[in-house]
């Protein structure tokens, strides 16, 4: 049986699943119910000088029948007094000593103010601190949140102030709203951070009401940009986590688009030691952690991983520069006619959207009457129009397999070209005429 316990920057969590700082971690009642449901830790809703929030605050994108594919918010940090938050943290830690409570902090950029907050958080019994340098809306207008996290020097400076007094681990939460997140991560590491967490939400305008021309969420006929998250952002998170994993030595807590155990496993595969979840818990409640724990355990057992460390970061070496990829590796698409339902989505996708390498059922390319040729009929006796891959034209792009609505109907098969491995970098080294011109003064 896999052991999900993890040690992260010196603190131990019963499992890698934490609730990210946000609406689900606003109160002691929520934190305790979350621990009862199985969450390993909670990162408390960011504590700072209490703010006043707007109504409404959230917006979402649905995709057909799937609700909240993407989610955004313009909610600020905790609207409750600082001492109330710390008192509740104290109470929660007393009752749940084995679960982690990480205090998320955001205050004005003054050394003494940060020192004071760190001491109070530690006195409340917090297991670690997370510095919120990522909030992209509202707080950034006041010189906090992403206003700090977008500037490497500020990030390093404030991290170092915190480290001057902190006795517990310090996690710096990174914003993705920068050109190169690795520079911010490196700055946090230089400032003495014990860990980083990413990604915070992505700056966004979730949509516009086309009747009133008010963007969402509507606040009295106006709106503002807010933080984007939910299932839609996972690919961005995976990319940024993998690049940070190659840049810094300190541990990473992965955030962004985690709704299921396999999302979490992917975050771990690209270098995260713990993962943080918010939108999915806002959608379905704390109970979702049960299958996260169960599913991850089953997966680890099936693959012989005894601990998270056994597979953490395993995908990182496989994330390479494009210029290092083998240009002589070749695959082509293969349609399995017995599974084909005749929707011809692969045909039109390839024809209009890719490389014109699929012949429709009635094309001369496919034999004048492939309907008769393959003779396939559906249960009602109607012909099934099976297209055909034109192998010599196929570039192996995957598009047909991606659009095909039937599992395993289109697979990609490896073609032995006999050519040795050859990356773009190798190719340009051997034949400099292929190399792009180097920028120079003249």
């Amino acid at each position: 049986m896999a052991d999900l316990k993890v040690t992260f920057a010196g603190i131990t969590s019963p499992n890698p699943f934490w609730l990210a700082s946000g609406p689900p971690t606003n109160t002691a009642g929520q934190a305790m119910r979350a621990f009862d449901a199985g969450w390993g830790g909670v990162v408390w809703k960011t504590i700072g000088d209490p703010i006043v929030n707007t109504s409404s605050r959230y917006g979402a994108i649905d995709l057909h029948n799937v609700k909240m594919m993407g989610f955004n918010n313009i909610e600020l940090i905790s609207d409750r007094p600082i001492d109330v938050n710390f008192r509740e943290i104290y109470d929660v830690k007393k009752r749940y000593p084995h679960n982690l409570v990480i205090a998320s902090l955001m205050v004005e950029s003054k050394r003494e103010t940060w020192h004071d907050m760190v001491r109070r958080a530690e006195a409340a019994g917090s297991d670690a601190l997370e510095l919120n340098f990522g909030c992209p809306h509202g707080m950034s207008e006041r010189g906090m949140g992403s206003a700090v996290g977008q500037v490497p020097e500020y990030t390093e400076m404030i991290t170092s102030w915190v480290k001057e007094v902190a006795k517990i681990p310090v996690i710096v939460k990174l914003t993705p709203n920068v050109t190169d997140v690795t520079r911010i991560a490196a700055a946090a590491e230089r400032g003495g951070a014990d860990a980083v967490s990413l990604i915070n939400t992505i700056n966004s305008l979730i949509g516009v009401d086309l009747e009133t021309f008010t963007p969402r969420p509507n606040v009295g006929g106006k709106s503002s940009h807010g933080g984007y998250c939910g299932p839609a952002v996972k690919p961005i998170a995976l990319h940024l986590i993998s690049s940070v994993a190659k840049t810094v030595k300190i541990p990473i807590s992965g955030i962004g688009g985690i709704g299921y155990w396999n999302d979490a496993a992917e975050h771990i595969a690209v270098g995260a030691t713990t993962v943080q979840v918010c939108t999915a818990a806002m959608h379905y409640g704390f109970r979702i952690v049960e299958d996260m724990i169960d599913g991850l355990s089953q997966y680890m057992d099936a693959h012989g991983f005894r601990s998270i460390e056994d597979f953490r970061g395993r995908a990182v070496p496989n994330v390479q520069d494009w210029g290092d990829l083998d240009l002589n590796y070749k695959i082509v698409a293969e349609i399995h006619p017995e599974l084909c339902i005749g929707c011809q989505l692969c045909y039109i996708a390839c024809e209009d959207g890719a490389h014109q390498a699929i012949a429709p059922y009635n094309s001369p390319h496919n034999g004048a009457s492939s309907e008769q040729k393959n003779g396939k009929k559906n249960p009602n006796g109607m012909g099934v129009h099976v297209p055909r891959i034109i192998e010599e034209e196929c570039v192996g792009c995957n598009l047909c397999a991606l659009v095909c609505p039937v599992e395993n109907c289109i697979t990609m098969k490896h073609v032995e070209t006999g050519a040795p491995q050859m990356s773009w970098k190798e190719r340009t080294q051997r034949n400099p005429s292929c190399a792009p011109p180097t920028p120079s003064g003249d």
């Binding site: 057909h64 029948n65 084909c340 339902i341 005749g342 929707c343 011809q344 989505l345 045909y347 039109i348 429709p360 559906n378 249960p379 009602n380 109607m382 012909g383 099934v384 129009h385 609505p405 039937v406």
Partner: protein, 453 residues
């Protein structure tokens, strides 16, 4: 003259319940969910399977994006009777039968109900989607106000023709109004649908039978072309002894009563025999049960496998607890004082397959038996309307009485075109629409008028 015994009257509201639409309309959220299931196939098999080739993925995609007006435009530009077809088409052997979901092992997309959803949207709001074309000075008469004529007239009107429909009935719509089971489509819905054709400026002369109230010759002098879309006539006789008795009637005549009379006033026997096993026979037996008949027999001289009705229709009759007497043939209608009291039948055995591959039934002597019934309904197909057409110079009829046409739907007299049941011998509404539209193209090609869409 009353029937020997009539079915006990049902509570008034029960009739409405029994004839309520068997397929409820989709709610807006149901329609969005169902439309999102559609894969948006390219060169889609559903579109190929539709005789009018409605671009099904396009109209369904428009429902999923909330563009219901655009969705209805896609449907109605291919088939002006998309409303009726959405309700009465045998979708399981057409679009839905061809849906790729069937091969995927899932339920096909509910194309018919989605189509209704989009068309209802514009009908409910009185939205006019199409405009008449600029007048091209040509006049066309359409005889009959059924699906073929309506489709032909609408196309021609869009291209600028001045079209007048002559129809012998009180209301337009043809079989949609008078001849399809009420639980599939109400007469009022079929009549409302005709507004789509009226919006195009097509004139309707109801209660006007060509050949009686106006002459073919008269039409020829006033119109540049004439489309014959008269459909079929009365139900064939069985040529059985006793067929003249009160209580024997044709299927179309029986269905019509359920469409034009208040349901509680429709005269219905306590026990009924229906002869024939096509889709119209199913309409008869289900209507009879829903009107309160206690015993309803469907009598067919071949067996269940040879039954011409669609599987879906057969299922409806089974659900209505109809008794099926397979390999049974009527011999004579029995009666007292001129009123039906029973039907004498005989069992059959099936011999060698005929030219169409259907096995020929032969009566088995000594197996005669009598069904005590109060009504006998003939559902053995409709006769062609030959009498009035015989007098039209040059218009030839086939051996079976249908009008002979070429590929442009033109008859032996170049001024006359024809389509629908009167040429195909009796098919679906959607086939009549497709043929009416094809005939409109034929008229347009022949008159050489520049198309102004």
């Amino acid at each position: 003259m009353p029937l020997r015994e009539t079915a006990p009257k049902l509570p008034a509201e029960q009739y409405e319940k029994n004839f309520a639409e068997i397929e409820a309309a989709l709610s807006e959220s149901q329609a969005v969910v169902e439309s999102a299931r559609c894969l948006y196939c390219f060169d889609a098999p559903c579109t190929l399977a539709c005789p009018t080739h409605i671009d099904v993925p396009a109209f369904i995609q428009k429902i999923s994006t909330g563009n219901l007006r655009g969705s209805a435009r896609v449907i109605l530009s291919a088939n002006i009777l998309g409303h009726s077809c959405g309700r009465v088409c045998p979708t399981e052997v057409l679009c839905e039968g061809a849906c790729v979901m069937v091969e995927k092992g899932e339920e096909p997309i509910e194309i018919g109900r989605l189509q209704r959803h989009a068309v209802d949207y514009v009908l409910d709001r009185g939205i006019q989607l199409f405009q008449p074309g600029s007048p091209n000075g040509k006049r066309v008469a359409c005889i009959g106000a059924g699906p073929a004529s309506l489709a032909c007239a609408a196309e021609l009107a869009k291209w600028g023709y001045d079209v007048t429909i002559f129809d012998r009935r009180e209301n337009p719509g043809g079989l949609n109004t008078y001849g399809i089971a009420a639980y599939k489509t109400r007469a009022s819905d079929a009549i409302r649908e005709v507004t789509l054709v009226k919006q195009l400026g097509v004139k309707f002369l109801q209660n006007t039978e060509v050949g009686r109230d106006v002459t073919f010759f008269g039409l020829e002098s006033q119109f540049d072309a004439i489309f014959i879309g008269v459909g079929l006539g009365e139900t064939w006789d069985l040529t059985l002894p006793g067929e003249e008795l009160h209580g024997v009637l044709g299927a179309i005549e029986f269905i019509e009563k359920t469409k034009v009379q208040p349901l509680h006033e429709v005269e219905i026997g306590r026990r009924i025999a229906c002869i024939g096993a096509g889709n119209t026979a199913i309409d008869v037996v289900t209507a009879a049960r829903r009107l309160g008949a206690e015993a309803v027999y469907l009598i067919y001289r071949r067996g269940e496998p040879e039954m011409p009705a669609f599987a879906y229709e057969y299922q409806l009759a089974k659900q209505d607890a109809v008794s099926f007497l397979w390999q049974t043939q009527p011999v004579r209608v029995l009666g007292t004082n001129g009123v039906v009291t029973g039907l004498e039948c005989v069992r059959t055995e099936l011999g060698a397959p005929d030219a169409k591959g259907r096995r020929t039934p032969a009566p088995i002597a000594g197996t005669e038996f009598t069904l005590h019934v109060d009504m006998v309904v003939r559902a053995v197909g409709q006769q062609p309307v030959t009498d009035s057409l015989r007098g039209v110079r040059g218009v030839e009829l086939q051996k079976n009485g249908t009008v002979k046409i070429d590929e442009r739907h033109q008859t032996g007299n170049p001024k006359y075109f024809a389509g629908g049941d009167c040429t195909n011998g009796g098919r679906e509404v959607v086939d009549a629409v497709a043929e009416g539209m094809a005939a409109a193209r034929g008229v347009d090609a022949w008159l050489g008028a520049a198309r102004k869409k």
